[in-house]
């Protein structure tokens, strides 16, 4: 399980995360919510190892990984679907998926069919360059790519952004399915409230780099949270 | 005007002014030659390089056009001036031909090629100093920018341009003296080039040109047009969708910058006494980029400082460590990139800020 404790993060001189804490457990979805620019993405990046934290701990099954390089975290089960998708534009869809194989032992380097079953459109586009796909197609590819690494912690930064309704539903059920498998901790950053509410087991609401409310789904009152998200 | 001269620029111009006044005085006989006289021309040369660096920074730092061929514009300006100086020699050449320069005489040229006409007049030469490089930049840029050549592709074709010009000017048939170039100048505007007063005049002219170049560059970049340039540098596509004719803007700064480089070349030639196709060499143009990068790209003053520092280092080191200086210079380049990400100017400014912060802390401590 992931246990983020009192993380501080700076861009140059400006502090964007102030003592942020968060937990994520296998088989559970933790939703991170907050208005634009409150630091959600920054938090995600700190967890994945893209940004160095100034202080605080990121415990992964008891080990502090806060100083580990990103690839080492990935090889220990972290996978990310970043905001903005970050598809490798000049790799084909297949190659994009294959990049995730770096985490796996040589013998297991295969793209699992189950991933493609989740997003059938990718099957048709296997040999197209990732950068040529439409925005929504890229988003699906990004999720699929993360799943190829067989993660034990899946971090999704606004995965519904730009996705057509029917596929949002599919993604929702995919996340639910992954959650229900029970071996994966999921962190979901979402602005789309209904989507988050349906999936989340617990919530974290952020504002100006701080966690202003956190708790289990049952404890949360929708109108309160909506209030917090309003400007 | 106030907006044009910010603090940084003010300090720099003041420094330049002091240098311009003090150096000729210190080197004059009246002052007992506190410093050797040759420093006047030497520093004059640095000033020309600094102007050249400012010209490059204008296109590279503010519009993202990395020209690896700016040496060509410098050299063309230099050749235009060199041609004037050659014509000034008149019948004082070794063969005594009243019209033809010596290199044409012994290779049996019968008459002056058409493109040499007019260069016996200073005003014409002065015009060509800016017009020749400006025109080349305009034509080259017209095609390249219209075709949306950008990034490394543009850089490499500018390099191809200067390389092609170098090979062309090497050819004796071109009528520019081949590899030997143009040399053995005697006087400019009737003034003896070896006279200390002429040297001082050229030095001052270089300083004025540098100050002028800086002001023009500053004026362009601080204007509303400057913002478009930055937009083009950062997101060219986006700027187009806002309705800006990107190619016109690029063409404009590219041409202005080329003309500025031409002026630098023209002032450089009488001070060093030779112009030769080597000035077109791709390595020379890369060196200009190095100056700008070292001084701090996109700062104008940094570019000028970078040129000054690198060429000064070259002067000092080639005399002091003739067999090791490349190690020192190469090491300097590496260290600056690794440790001074903002270039020399950036480092100076952070240094000053820290110092100020430190000083104010101290004063506070004292106060409390």
């Amino acid at each position: 399980m992931l246990d983020v404790r009192n993380v501080d993060l700076f861009y140059g001189a400006s502090q964007v995360l102030r003592s942020v804490s968060l937990k994520a457990q296998p088989g559970k979805v933790t939703a991170v919510m907050g208005r634009n620019g409150v630091g959600k993405t920054s938090l995600i990046r700190a967890i994945c190892g893209r940004l160095p934290v100034a202080s605080g701990q990121i415990l992964w099954n008891g080990t502090d990984v806060a100083r580990w390089p990103a690839y080492r975290r990935a090889r220990n089960g972290f996978a990310t679907v970043p905001q903005g998708r970050e598809i490798f534009p000049q790799l084909t869809v297949r190659e994009n998926l294959q990049t995730g194989l770096a985490c796996l032992p040589r013998s297991e380097r295969r793209i699992p069919e189950s991933v493609l079953d989740l997003f059938p459109v990718l099957r048709e586009m296997m040999d197209r360059r990732g950068g040529d796909l439409s925005g929504g197609q890229q988003q699906q590819l990004a999720i699929a790519r993360a799943l190829v690494t067989r993660p034990r912690l899946l971090v999704l930064d606004e995965p519904t952004e730009g996705i057509q309704p029917s596929i949002i539903k599919d993604i929702g059920s995919a996340i639910a399915w992954l959650r229900d498998r029970g071996d994966m901790a999921i962190i979901l950053v979402e602005q789309y409230f209904d989507f988050a509410r349906d999936l989340a087991d617990s919530f974290v609401v952020m504002d100006r780099g701080e966690v202003i409310q956190a708790g289990l789904r049952e404890e949360m009152v929708e109108s309160d949270v909506r209030e917090l998200l309003a400007v | 005007m106030a907006r044009l001269i910010d603090r940084r620029m003010g300090v720099f111009l003041a420094g330049l002014f002091i240098l311009t006044v003090a150096l000729p005085m210190a080197s004059s006989a009246a002052a007992g030659q506190l410093v050797p006289a040759y420093l006047v021309s030497l520093v004059g040369k640095y000033l020309c390089y600094a102007l050249l660096a400012v010209a490059l920074d204008l296109v590279w730092g503010f519009c993202g056009i990395l020209s690896l061929g700016h040496g060509a514009f410098f050299a063309l300006g230099g050749y235009a001036m060199g041609m004037y100086l050659m014509r000034q020699i008149g019948p004082r050449g070794v063969y005594g031909d009243p019209v033809l320069p010596d290199f044409m005489v012994f290779l049996n040229w019968q008459e002056l090629p058409w493109f040499w006409l007019g260069f016996d007049r200073f005003w014409f030469a002065a015009l060509m100093v800016m017009a020749a490089p400006g025109l080349l930049a305009f034509v080259f840029g017209w095609f390249a920018f219209r075709s949306r050549v950008s990034g490394v592709y543009l850089s490499i074709i500018t390099q191809a341009m200067t390389y092609a010009l170098m090979l062309a000017f090497f050819r004796n048939e071109m009528g520019f003296g081949g590899n030997n170039g143009l040399t053995d100048f005697k006087d400019i505007l009737g003034l003896d080039l070896t006279a200390a007063s002429t040297r001082t005049g050229l030095f001052v002219a270089s300083a004025v040109a540098l100050a002028g170049g800086l002001m023009i560059a500053r004026w362009i970049t601080a204007s509303r047009l400057g913002r478009v340039l930055v937009a083009i540098r950062d997101a060219e596509e986006r700027t187009r969708f806002l309705g800006y004719r990107v190619e016109h803007y690029k063409l404009f700064v590219f041409t202005v910058s080329a003309a500025m480089a031409g002026v630098a070349g023209a002032l450089y030639v009488p001070q060093v006494g030779i112009i030769n196709p080597g000035e077109f060499s791709p390595a020379n143009s890369i060196e200009i980029v190095i100056w700008v990068a070292l001084g701090g790209r996109g700062t104008l003053i940094g570019a000028a400082l970078g040129a000054f520092l690198v060429t000064l280092a070259k002067t000092v080191l080639t005399g002091w460590l003739p067999e090791l200086w490349l190690f020192a210079l190469g090491g300097l380049f590496i260290m600056v990139t690794l440790w001074l990400p903002g270039g020399v100017l950036g480092a100076i400014e952070t240094g000053l800020t820290r110092l100020r912060a430190f000083a104010s802390m101290r004063t506070k401590e004292i106060e409390t």
Partner: protein
């Protein structure tokens, strides 16, 4: 304005004059083989020419060997007794054989004998003379060479010998060569018209520049002029076609050199986006590695010389590759995302590497020899193909396709492309970006080193080697379209062939200028190179 000062006290001039006075009268009368050989060391080159001529006419069976030794610079005169000896290499120095008696005189000390000097004219004469004398040699190669040198002399005096040789010849190729040599000779005699016509036909069939030169003087011969002119125009036509083929070959070969020089850059610059100004110096390191290997071999194991390049190649990859990795780990690594600053830093590296090589190996050219399989040339029709160029072409293609395979088919290649397209994302996919970056840069550098091994065979090995290729390399990569290996391929061969087709028209200087102008214009048409990525992917 020329004043010639005569300074008669120059000692050896005087000695030469004395020798002339002694020898000259002797050359006049007919003399025996032995006497002629004894006379060889003395007199001027002109005298020696007469002596050689006389020796070749003696018909003495020893003549060919003596003349051959003279040609090869192995004929010496002993300083103490003036005896003429032939030096042969033997273990631990040279052994002297008496030129006349064939007696083995044992080892000789260096400096105890004096070489009998020849000049170009004498060597030409010697070759012809030896040719005429060895037309009947039992060795096929020797006979072939002999026939060729007799062809070159075109001397009618050899016709008899040629006839005899032809009658005895069983090898077809040698027989043709003999017939051709005879044909040239016949044209200069007053043989019957029919025979001359046959000779013209033989030369026409040969069809090369030498045949042309042999025929040309007879173009206005009243008897066979028509045939000769006809033959000449045929030969010319054929040669025009061959000339195009030849130029295309030159283009391919220039292209292979350009590609080798550029292909490492296609990785560091094209794929990784690092403006690596030190690329040329990495090529240079490869060349110096070759030099060092050859130097070691010369000193320790000369028999390995033919293998020197094969030994040097992996070492060059190692040397240049390690330096590349060091550059990446030490400098470039800190500059990803600041691509233009890599230009400044790698320029610094290139200055340092250049000066380091200058300090270690000296500023001069170093000698790198061609192994025997890289020397010389062979002919395809009227086209000359030099072995070194052919091997370099093969080598370049091999490197190219191997690299293509690595990039396209291997997992390393995939990771490498992922890392260069989006470094942080690649890391989040579990790719050790630091390692991949270092290896990629090392690969590019290692290939630059390989290029150096090849270039050492045809160019200077000097501290300036790198500088002379860097500009061309960037042109090639950009012309083809950065980021695409096929681009470098097409760029190199496209530019190579265009250049070589232009050169005969315009000359080398203008050709190169036109080439550059062509690149500039071409980029207007295709602003992202020949093999540009298209579509959204390119903009992303």
């Amino acid at each position: 304005m020329k004043i010639v000062l005569c300074l008669p006290f120059r000692p050896y001039l005087a000695a030469l004059l004395m020798a002339l006075l002694v020898v000259l009268p002797a050359a006049g009368r007919t003399a025996g083989f032995e006497e002629l050989v004894e006379r060889l060391p003395h007199g001027s080159y002109a005298d020696r020419a007469k002596v050689i001529d006389a020796i070749s006419r003696t018909g003495d069976p020893r003549a060919a060997e003596v003349l051959n030794a003279l040609l090869e610079g192995r004929l010496h005169a002993r300083k103490d007794d003036g005896r003429i000896v032939i030096l042969v290499d033997s273990a631990g120095g040279a052994t002297a054989i008496d030129a006349l008696s064939g007696e083995n005189l044992g080892g000789v000390l260096a400096g105890s004998t004096e070489k009998i000097k020849t000049n170009n004219r004498l060597r030409g004469m010697l070759r012809t003379a030896i040719g005429a004398l060895s037309l009947m040699s039992p060795d096929r190669e020797t006979r072939l060479m002999a026939a060729q040198s007799v062809f070159a002399s075109g001397d009618p005096a050899n016709i008899e010998a040629l006839d005899a040789a032809l009658a005895a010849e069983s090898d077809r190729q040698v027989a043709t060569a003999l017939a051709e040599a005879r044909a040239v000779a016949i044209l200069d005699t007053d043989a019957p018209v029919e025979e001359k016509r046959a000779a013209v036909a033989i030369l026409r069939a040969r069809g090369d520049a030498a045949a042309q030169a042999a025929l040309a003087p007879h173009a206005s011969d009243p008897a066979i002029g028509n045939e000769v002119r006809e033959a000449l125009s045929r030969i010319e036509q054929a040669q025009r076609v061959w000339a195009i083929a030849q130029n295309v070959w030159y283009g391919l070969s220039l292209g292979s050199v350009l590609m080798l020089a550029a292909i490492g850059l296609a990785i560091t610059f094209g794929v990784m986006g690092v403006i690596n100004m030190a690329h040329g110096e990495l090529v240079m390191l490869g060349a110096y590695t070759t030099f060092a290997v050859q130097e070691a071999i010369r000193g320790a194991a000369p028999w390995l010389f033919d293998w020197s390049l094969l030994i040097a190649a992996p070492l060059a990859v190692l040397v240049a590759g390690s330096v590349g990795i060091a550059i990446e780990r030490g400098i470039v690594r800190h500059l990803y995302g600041r691509p233009l600053e890599t230009l400044l830093a790698t320029w610094g590296v290139s200055l340092i590497l250049q000066q380091a090589v200058r300090t270690i190996f000296g500023p001069n050219n170093r000698e790198v020899g061609n192994p025997s399989w890289m020397s010389g040339a062979f002919e395809i029709g009227q086209m000359t193909v030099t072995w070194s160029r052919l091997w370099i072409l093969i080598f370049a293609l091999a490197v190219f396709f191997a690299l293509l395979l690595v990039l396209r088919r291997s997992f390393f290649g995939l990771q490498m492309r992922a890392v260069t397209q989006n470094r942080p994302m690649a890391a989040e996919m579990g790719i050790d970006t630091g390692r991949i970056d270092a290896l990629t840069f090392g690969l590019g550098a290692g290939i630059a080193g390989l290029a150096g091994v090849a270039l050492s065979q045809i160019d200077n090995v000097s501290p300036n080697l790198g500088q002379s290729y860097i500009v061309d390399s960037f042109m090639v990569v950009v012309f083809g379209g950065a980021g695409n290996l096929w681009g470098a391929f097409a760029g190199a061969f496209g530019l190579g062939i265009t250049n070589k087709l232009l050169e005969p028209w315009t000359g080398a200087v203008l050709g190169k200028i036109l080439m550059l102008v062509f690149i500039i214009l071409f980029i207007q048409k295709r602003p992202r190179g020949l093999f540009a990525l298209r579509g959204r992917a390119a903009e992303a």
